[in-house]
């Protein structure tokens, strides 16, 4: 059982996520890093998900909150978040390799979710007291794959929690142009799954909702849908222009779970501006050092030069778990 985190602990996690995302986003916009789907303002989801699960649970991450999930779970330190942003760690940015405990997204929206259903089914068949959490966006939720998965989870009462990270816009398509549903939680009844909508601007609310949901599902309560409403303060990805009006973007920026929690903590006397400044300084130094480290390591990488001349047997080994078939052994190309 994960231990309950205090508001200050949650704050440290969302703040660290914020600072790493901010830096990666800036470097991507500056062209030093490739296109990045920024997780800014999505930290409250990733931290809530990552800090409400046990080691043997499974989380399927999305491209925005994935880094925060891994940070909260202790899978990646702040330094490693930066290295991962540079593609130097196996992780979300490097095509998500890793064990089953973190499931990759495939790059095709919704297509990853059926795998999570299967993992949840494996827990059910083996009577393991674990849960699977699949995180995806409001955009993905309109894919048919999600419908099939929610329906299967409902009818089989799987230990699976769907977290819909609803930031109100999919690339350039606003939520109001994507669905006429009042909330995405309204989809739950169609699958016989309890569903709620939570304010993603309140990191303690997302954390409370996730820990309660995990407890309920872990104790045999079946699947759930948690819609987290938040906003996207910038463009879809750093290489793609934002079509929203200035007003829309500035409205989006007002919803800031990190600032909200900071204010709550300071107003309640648990925290003060001085401590905050020193924590930000501490984290920023880690980020700065990690960026320096990453730049050095990247400079030392050699680009590939073999230009498509891999032998068949090596290609087979890259693609298959089974032994190289006799016919390919010794074949050059």
């Amino acid at each position: 059982m994960t231990k309950a985190l205090s508001p200050l602990e949650i704050y440290r996690l969302v703040l660290a996520s914020r600072l790493s995302e901010q830096r990666i986003t800036e470097l991507s916009k500056a062209g030093e890093l490739p296109g990045h789907h920024s997780g800014l303002n999505h930290e409250s989801v990733g931290i809530a998900v990552g800090s409400s699960v046990d080691f043997d649970d499974c989380v399927q991450t999305s491209y925005r909150s994935g880094a925060a999930v891994m940070h909260a779970r202790g899978g990646l330190t702040l330094r490693e978040l930066i290295l991962q942003g540079f593609g130097l760690l196996p992780g979300i940015r490097a095509q998500h390799p890793g064990g089953a405990r973190i499931l990759r997204s495939t790059g095709i929206l919704g297509g990853q979710v059926p795998t999570a259903v299967g993992v949840a089914l494996s827990y059910q068949l083996r009577r393991k007291p674990n849960v699977v959490i699949s995180v995806f966006g409001d955009g993905a939720s309109n894919e048919g794959a999600i419908h099939e998965c929610m329906n299967i989870a409902g009818v089989k009462r799987l230990p699976l929690i769907f977290v819909v990270e609803n930031n109100g816009i999919a690339l350039s398509t606003r939520g109001s142009d994507s669905t006429a549903a009042k909330t995405l939680a309204d989809r739950g009844a169609g699958y016989g799954i309890p569903a709620v909508t939570v304010d993603g601007g309140d990191a303690m609310a997302t954390y409370a909702a996730m820990t309660a949901a995990v407890a309920r599902t872990r104790s045999g309560g079946g699947p759930q849908i948690i819609e987290m409403k938040l906003t996207r303060p910038g463009e879809h990805a750093s290489v793609i222009p934002d079509v929203r009006s200035e007003q829309e973007v500035s409205d989006a920026r007002l919803v800031d779970a990190v600032a909200n929690l900071r204010n709550t903590l300071i107003n309640s006397g648990t925290w003060d501006a001085e401590s905050d400044a020193s924590l930000i300084k501490e984290f920023t130094e880690i980020v700065d050092a990690a960026v320096d480290e990453a730049r050095q390591r990247k400079a030392n990488l050699k680009p590939p030069t073999d230009d498509g001349l891999l032998p068949e047997a090596q290609v087979w080994r890259m693609a298959h778990a089974s032994d190289v078939p006799a016919a390919l052994q010794g074949a050059s190309r």
Binding site: T115, L121, A145, W316
Partner: protein
């Protein structure tokens, strides 16, 4: 020692043997429970193994194929039955993006030891339901899977291979697309070796030895090619029939040895000609047996049009008549 059984009985027997041997082997699909599948391929399996080894799903191919991938990642070995091969078109993302690439993309962290059973094709005798099932119930699109790296693709042409290849597929650590020719379910009857009969993946069979011309035949066309060989033997023409059995990885050597011997090649399959796997075989031979070819390589396959319903299917599918014509053309060159 052997037992006479039909193609569909051999498939059923392979399920039983493998599910008894290894309790991680599951059967998944739609109507695979008490009914035993749309075609009865798994009749009795549910009674024998129960609802924790035989998993039924609603009509949601994306959802349940993907569930099989998740189960496979977690160490199960699911046999995933699709009611008809044609229906997998609604779920190809799961096969082409997830199943095929999971091993490579996770850098070997996740294996997908799943079998995807695809009942394909028509009854080439033109008799019965499967002879007239129309454009969306008669297709043979193995070529799509052969062009999706990471998948193994097998196609048995008789009961012994149906059993032996399915057993091998279950034991493969890679995902295997198992193309079962549903028109042969009850028309193909033959001896199946008793005991643990496994047909190794990647090994072609010389179904009949001959010296004047090689016919590489796939699936139901193997039987047609053997009939042709009988007929031409009466005229003193010696036809060698090679059955690839595994398409990916292809046993090129067995085909090349045959072509180097006979100097003439006809390739035949039930799939449409353009872009069918026969093209790949022709390309391999054109590259690797160029010096041995004494005549053009010809293909005998379905015409490039949707398979009509009813008897009209015979106007576009290959058969003994068109194969005989093609072989005579190559012999006459």
């Amino acid at each position: 020692m052997s037992t006479k059984m039909s193609y569909i009985e051999a498939i059923r027997e392979a399920h039983i043997q493998e599910m008894q041997r290894d309790e991680s082997v599951l059967l998944m699909g739609i109507d695979v429970g008490p009914l035993g599948g749309l075609f009865g391929a798994t009749t009795g399996i549910f009674d024998k193994f129960g609802s924790e080894r035989v998993l039924e799903f609603p009509i949601s191919e994306t959802g349940y194929i993907g569930s099989g991938i998740g189960l496979a990642i977690e160490g199960f070995r699911p046999i995933i039955e699709i009611q008809m091969a044609d229906f997998v078109t609604v779920a190809l993302d799961q096969v082409m993006t997830v199943m095929s690439k999971e091993y490579a993309v996770t850098g070997g962290a996740n294996r997908v030891p799943a079998v995807l059973r695809l009942p394909f094709g028509a009854n080439l005798t033109g008799q019965g339901y499967m002879g007239g099932a129309g454009p969306a119930h008669s297709q043979s699109h193995e070529a799509w899977f052969c062009h999706s790296p990471g998948l193994v693709v097998v196609m048995p042409s008789n009961p012994a291979d149906a059993l032996g290849l399915l057993k091998a597929a279950v034991r493969s650590d890679d995902p295997v697309v198992y193309m079962e020719q549903k028109g042969m379910y009850r028309t193909s009857i033959g001896d199946v070796p008793d005991g643990d009969h496994v047909v190794e993946i990647g090994q072609a069979a010389v179904a009949r030895e001959g010296s004047d011309i090689t016919v590489v035949a796939m699936g139901a066309m193997v039987q047609v090619a053997l009939q042709l060989a009988d007929n031409l033997a009466l005229e003193g023409i010696s036809v060698e029939v090679v059955d690839p059995r595994t398409l990916v990885p292809l046993d090129e050597e067995t085909i090349l040895v045959s072509v180097r011997k006979t100097g003439r090649l006809v390739i035949t399959h039930e799939a449409h000609r353009t872009g069918g796997f026969g093209a790949e075989i022709a390309a391999v031979v054109a590259e690797k047996a160029h010096g041995s070819l004494q005549a053009p390589v010809k293909r005998c396959a379905a015409r490039d049009v949707a398979i009509p319903a009813g008897d009209a299917a015979l106007r576009v599918l290959p058969g003994l008549g068109s194969l005989t014509t093609t072989v005579r053309e190559v012999l006459a060159f």
